[in-house]
Amino acid sequence: MNDLEELAVLDPARHTEPTPAQWTRSRNFVERTMAGRAASFPVRRRWVAAGAVTVAAGLVGAVVIPSLVPGVTEKAVASWTAMPTARTGDQVLPQAEACGASDVSGSSTTVSASDVILAEQRGDATMLIMRKTNGHIVECLGVGDDRLASMGLTDGTPLPPPPAGKLTLETRSSYGDDDNMFSNIVGLAGPGVTSVELRLNDGGTVHASVKAGWWGAWWPGPEGGEGTDEFTVIAHSATGDTTYLPSQLP
C-alpha cells in the first residue's frame, strides 16, 4: 500500500453514498433546472433559513425563477446604481404585467397599477413587489420586458407589521456566479421608517427602497446569500436609527 492509499483512511466521505432523499432532491432539482424553473439551492435554502420565523406568519417558500435570458443579468449588473429611483405602478405597468403573468404564486388574470406595492429602477433593471390576483405577494426583477427572476413572498395572509421604526427580514439571497452574481433582500418596514440603507463590509453602501410597509434592495455581489453577516442594515426614522446585522433581523 503506498502513501496515497494509506491516506484514504482519513477521507471524511469514505464509504458514504447519497441517501435516497438526496438523490430525489437532486434529480428533482435537475428536472426543474432543465425546465428553466430553478435557481441555485443556496439561494432558496438560505432564504428559508433566514425567514424561518416568518414562515409561521405565512411566508411562502421563496422560489426564484430565472428566465435565463442571456445577457439580462449582465445588463442589470452593469447598469446598477446604489441609489434607486422610485417608480409608480403606472410607470412599471409593463413589467408588472410580465410579473403578474408568471406562474410564480399563481398567474394574475388582470394587472393594474394599483397592484404594485413597491417599484424601483436601478439602471436598466426594474424591481417591483406586487400583489397578484389571488392575493399572493411576489417580487420580480427584470430588464425591460425580460423577466430575470420572480419570487413568492407571502400567500396573501397579512403579515404583522414590525414596530415603529423597525424592520423585519422576509428573504435574502444571492444568485448567479462570478461577475454576474447579485444579492437580493426584502423585508417589512414598521411605521415611520423613512429610509433603509445597507452598508457592505467592503465599504459600499446600498440604498434600499421603502414603500407601503415593505423595503427591498438588490446589488451586485454575493453578500445576500452568505450565512455570515457581510453587511449591516440601518433603518432611519424620525425617532432615530436602528442598526441590524442580517442575523439579528427578526
Binding site: 477521507d11 471524511p12 466521505a13 437532486s26 432539482f29 443556496p42 462570478d178 454575493p222 455570515t228 457581510e230
Partner: protein, 176 residues
Amino acid sequence: MDHQGTAEERFRALHEDTFADLLRFVERRVPPDEAEDIVSTVYLTAWRRHAELPEDARPWLFAVARRTMANQTRGWLRRRALDVRLTATEQHEVPDGSSGTAARLDLQRAWRSLSAADREVLALVAFDGLTADQAATVLNCRRSAFTMRLGRARKRLQSALEPATPDHPRTLQELS
C-alpha cells in the same frame, strides 16, 4: 428524439453518473449542511453551459464546485483557505494501543502539519480518486505542474511521518 430531448437525456445521464462523486467531493470540503446546496449550483451551472461539457465531465464539475465553494464562502475565505476536512471522528479518536490506530493518528498529525495547498493536491488523488490529468483540470493547471505539486506534497507528508531528527532526539537510542 429532437436535439433538446437529446441534451436533456444526456444531462440526466450525467447527473446519474456523477452525483455521488460530486457530493462526496463537496462534502470533503464544506460543512455537510452546505454540500447539497453547492452541488445543486454546480448542476445549474453545468446545464447553462452544457454545450461546453467535455466528454470526461467529472473533473469539469469538480472545478465548478471549487469555484462555487469559493464564491459561497468568500467571506470566511478571507480568513481561511478552502481546505479538505478529515474524517469527522478525528477529534474523538481514542488510541487503543493497536498499531493500526497509532498509524492512523500519526497520519492525521502528519496531514494536519501540511499546508492547505498540499492537502488539496493529495486529496484530489487519495480521496477523490482522480488521475493527474483530471486533477490538473480541477486545479486549472498543467498536468506537469500538478505532478510536481503532488510529488512535493508526498515528500512533505513522508517527512512529517518520519521519526524526529537527531536535532530533536526522542529516544535514548538516538542519543547513544
